[in-house]
């Protein structure tokens, strides 16, 4: 018996199925209402969300395949989390700013970040390297939780500018244990910062289930820091959209931060380096497969007769096209010039870097001179 059960009751895994779970679309594709969060979308908007979900999943599958083919060193799949990302991502206004982890490909998509930009770091040609200001989408952050503080700081800047932007910072269930995330809660609360904390509780932090990170559902933690927290069905794109919209509106009104726990599931491996069969059951996976975010919206669309066959065919083609573009883009992505590693260490010149670069160049030139390759 594990020591963490000395009280005789290992606290049970969190099924997510409480009344607190905000849902607008059931796994069966039924629209339901929620007293606090409602949404009214046009057919085109429904189709827009569907398109996002499908394309993002396609992009993700393509990236996974590219990793298997050796074109990427690593890939962190968002499979299963499309609704949480598209729902929250589509709630954003252009002025808003996003602080992602390394898995927010769907949010990046909503921000208009070129999918190929995301792949650079996974291919190993850079560590990110896009201009965050272009789409108000910060670089991926790998150190767990670090970006939540950046998000709060950015939101403090927004306050000072008096602008109407707000911030969404993403993090995972595992990240909730990090000191940084909890410091971010404190700073956001104390400074009343216009920031939305969006946690994708995908039930796993690599091999560790959420019970290793928290004893009670995460959304409840917010209250103890002095701001609201809610749990939303993270596989329900409508609910994610509605709740994030509400949280952003609240932030814009100057009412401060809010925590959204999107209850979802990581259907794939943690990354392509991971082997989830070592630590989780197929049964669990099957259970979650029934809650698939795309299937439920598709089923709703079908039931409601939204979307023409042409729409779905065009989407299929667009999806193929995207896959091809990503494939080609990755395969032709050039390796960086080695000397570029010295280029951006500092904004201004730094004598040590300058000297080392010069030595590096001289050294490599010596091989060229000698007609041989240094490696």
């Amino acid at each position: 018996m594990a020591v963490d059960s000395t009280d005789g009751t290992l606290f049970p895994p969190d099924s997510g199925a409480g009344p607190e779970l905000i849902q607008l679309l059931t796994p069966e594709g039924e629209r339901v209402e929620h007293p606090d969060y409602s949404i009214d979308l046009s057919d085109d908007e429904y189709l827009g969300l569907y398109r996002d979900l499908v394309l993002v999943r396609r992009f993700d599958a393509e990236a996974t395949a590219l990793q298997r083919q050796g074109e990427l060193g690593l890939w962190a799949s968002l499979l299963g989390q499309e609704a949480a990302q598209i729902g929250s991502g589509r709630a954003l206004s252009p002025n808003d700013y996003v602080f992602p982890t390394y898995r927010e490909h769907g949010v990046a998509w909503c921000r208009g970040v070129d999918p190929l930009n995301l792949l650079g770091m996974f291919r190993g040609v850079n560590h990110g390297g896009w201009d965050p200001r272009e789409n108000n989408f910060q670089l991926y952050t790998i150190v767990i939780g670090a970006q939540t503080l950046h998000g709060v700081g950015y939101a403090m800047g927004v306050q000072r500018d008096g602008s109407d932007g707000a911030v969404v910072t993403y993090f995972g269930d595992g990240a909730s244990s990090q000191g940084d995330v909890n410091e971010a809660f404190t700073f956001a609360a104390v400074f009343n910062a216009p920031v939305v904390f969006f946690c994708q509780n995908n039930q796993w932090a690599i091999s560790e289930p959420t019970e290793r990170q928290m004893k009670v559902p995460l959304y409840r933690r917010a209250a103890g820091f002095g701001f609201p927290g809610v749990r939303v069905d993270g596989n329900d794109v409508l609910a994610c959209l509605a709740v994030t919209r509400a949280a952003l509106a609240r932030a814009r009104r100057g009412e401060g931060p809010m925590l959204i726990e999107a209850f979802t599931y990581r259907m794939g491996a943690h990354t392509t380096s991971d082997d989830p069969t070592r630590y989780r059951s197929n049964a669990e996976l099957e259970e979650w497969r029934l809650k698939d975010p795309i299937e439920r919206l598709k089923s709703y669309l079908h039931k409601q007769g939204i979307g023409t066959p042409e729409f779905f065919a065009a989407l299929e083609a667009e999806s193929e096209e995207l896959g091809k573009r990503v494939r080609n883009g990755v395969r032709t992505m050039p390796d960086p010039d080695p000397v570029s590693m010295f280029a951006h260490v500092y904004a201004d010149s730094h004598t040590l870097v300058d000297r080392e670069r010069a030595e590096f160049e001289a050294y490599h030139a010596s091989f060229v001179d000698a007609g041989e390759d240094g490696h």
Partner: protein, 333 residues
């Protein structure tokens, strides 16, 4: 820099006052400059470096933060992303470590990570070093941890004039700067001419010329080395004292030039010698001056121990005698 004369633009300042005046000037000249830290508002910081600034610039620009160093540096990074230029005060050297992850993995690397798209013009001010009779964690010299980290710049002022200019230059820098303030010299006074033209931030300065032996120091140890040089001069030995001022980048060219004349080098700092700045100076200068050195580069530094209780700190800290002892050993090699 030409010695300041007591004119209309010149006045006596302690290092604390010089820093305060420099911070004030930066706050005045750039509305994006912010100051953040613990107890820097009404209290004016535990050393009063920010005294009066919150009163004059408001709580939005001089921000008392929650007691969480990682949070301070992390939110400063976010503010910088939003176009601000935060100046962070860490209360004492020993309390910078909760922020170490944000400093090393985020602050230092963001510019390179973004291929230059993101600049983080953040200054982290740290009162550092010993000699004030303080309790544990209040007397440390963590500079090597930062100087070893690519992406950070590290500087230290040794006198009020530099303090006044260097803090403003650091704030104007587009790179993150670790700004080390020698707390035991906070109350040293000097004439500061606010109309003078400052030396560049990242260069060293010969603070006393001499031909017998080069002595290199920075921050709190510059005054100690100058005392040692004065004592040596009485015995007819002219030491050349160089104030490094910047530790990253480090002005090796100037040290090399001096050592090529003197043939002897002693490096002095409070931080432990093992893997301290002195090790790097010794390694690089030996490589550059191999045939000029008449003795190995000698180091005078702290020991490989935690900073000791204050009742024995005088025995830990390099002092005039230890500097002269090293000079003697070098000359007698």
């Amino acid at each position: 820099m030409a010695p300041a004369e007591s004119t209309g633009t010149s006045r006596q300042m302690s290092m604390v006052q010089a820093l305060n005046t420099g911070l004030r000037k930066s706050l005045e000249s750039d509305p994006k400059v912010l100051i953040m830290g613990e107890d820097i508002g009404k209290l004016g910081g535990v050393f009063r470096v920010t005294d009066g600034l919150q009163k004059d610039f408001g709580e939005d620009r001089v921000v008392d933060t929650p007691l969480a160093e990682s949070g301070i540096v992390g939110t400063a990074i976010g503010l910088a992303l939003a176009g601000y230029r935060p100046v962070v005060e860490i209360q004492f050297d020993g309390f910078v470590f909760p922020a170490y992850d944000q400093i090393v993995t985020q602050l230092a690397k963001m510019h390179a990570r973004s291929l230059g798209y993101v600049k983080l013009p953040i200054v982290i001010r740290i009162p550092f070093g010993g000699g004030i009779g303080a309790v544990e964690h209040h007397s440390e010299s963590p500079e090597a941890y930062f100087a070893h980290t690519a992406g950070l710049r590290v500087v230290s002022c040794s006198n009020p004039v530099d303090a006044y200019w260097m803090i403003q230059q650091a704030i104007a820098s587009d790179d993150p700067v670790i700004f080390l303030e020698p707390k035991r010299r906070y109350w040293t006074k000097a004439e500061v001419d606010t109309a003078a033209t400052p030396d560049p931030l990242y260069g060293s300065r010969v603070v006393r010329p001499g031909g017998a032996c080069t002595v290199v120091a920075y921050g709190p140890m510059v005054a100690t080395c100058l005392e040692a040089a004065a004592a040596a001069a009485e015995e007819g030995r002219e030491l050349e004292v160089i104030d490094l001022r910047s530790l990253s980048p480090l002005d090796f060219d100037a040290v090399e030039k001096s050592v090529k004349r003197t043939g002897h080098l002693v490096v002095v700092h409070e931080a432990p010698s093992f893997l301290g700045i002195g090790a790097e100076v010794a390694a690089t200068i030996t490589e550059r001056c191999f045939y000029h050195l008449e003795a190995p580069v000698l180091r005078v530094g702290g020991y490989h121990t935690p900073y000791p209780p204050s009742r024995v700190e005088e025995d830990y800290l390099p002092d005039l005698d230890r500097v002269l002892d090293a000079v003697d050993r070098s000359l007698a090699w």
